[in-house]
Amino acid sequence: MSVQRWLENVRTECGRQHLPPIYVERLVGELSDHLTEFMEDSKSMDASELQPTLLGSASEIAVAASSEYRRRRFSGRHPWLVFVIAPILALPVLWAASLLSIVFIARAMGFDSDNPSVTNEIASRANEILPFAVIATLVLPVVVATLAFCRLAVKSAVSRRWILACCVLLAIGGGAASSSVSLPMPGTKGSVAFGFGFSVPPSPQQLGQFMLPLLIGCWMLHLGRRPTDTFVGS
């Protein structure tokens, strides 16, 4: 097997292991340098005689590279913790933060439960926007969490099953979540409610909330499979 073909095989096998291209290029560069050194050491050897498999098979090297690359990161060493436990813990925190942000924005606009001081025009505008803001507080944390965990999974070169497990968990959590917010008006106090549950049949919004993490996960898996993806890690 020619050196170039072997190096190309290493590149392909490393791609299959979802290793970042920049890392693969460095590895291939050093392997190529190793072979050159070997050639220079064995002066009598012709380039065509050189068997690059003396360094190991392409798949062996890719598996070793993937294993070592995963060991570099906490997420690679403890995928259960990072891609199963952490998403379950992260979602409530993100939801709480997004609902609190609505409360703070409402307060800043003058929607104070004790002393509402907004004009009728602002109040009616706010009430028009409110349903969308509430949906955003449900959906945005799930989207942010899915993107973050999928990106981490791709960077850590962990197996695809962790991405899928993480997305399914986020889809179940995201799909089951519902909340309602009412703004304080003169004579009435504002309220924030948050809960979980599935309606039968599920509403389009709930279906959308459920499908979104799965679609993002599929998209990230697709990006991670492309040899020239945007994930550059080191």
Binding site: E30, H34, E68, Y69
Partner: protein
């Protein structure tokens, strides 16, 4: 040239220790390091030479090695050397290795003695 065979899986962690040991003495590049391991082990330790680079990269990412690039005959050569953190890890690894090796030797040599004690 025939394909190299790797040593058994129970040698996990040994290449790391040898790498740190050799690089704590001298800075070396990958090929030089592989030759040094072969020479130091009297050719008794063999592992897929290509598999040494992922280990070097991980040790570098963990802060145990420092890599610098050097231009040699028109190509870039990556030179590795052990850091303070790497040397500390090496001391710990050697101590663990000696403890385990002593325990294994004791078990292998002292089997009869244990049998007699139990009887």
């Amino acid at each position: 040239m025939a394909e190299r065979k790797s040593n058994p899986a129970f040698l996990n962690g040994v290449p790391e220790m040898l790498i740190l040991q050799l690089l704590s003495r001298h800075s070396m590049y990958g090929y030089e390091l592989v030759q040094a391991i072969k020479a130091a082990s009297n050719d008794q330790l063999e592992f897929g030479e290509g598999c040494i680079y992922p280990i070097l990269h991980r040790l570098e990412a963990d802060g145990m090695l420092q890599a610098t690039k050097e231009l040699v005959s028109g190509r870039t050569r990556v030179i590795y050397r052990a850091t303070k953190h790497g040397k500390a890890r090496l001391t710990k690894s050697i101590s663990n290795w000696r403890r385990i090796a002593d325990a294994v030797n004791l078990s292998l040599d002292g089997g009869d003695h244990v049998g007699a004690t139990l009887a």
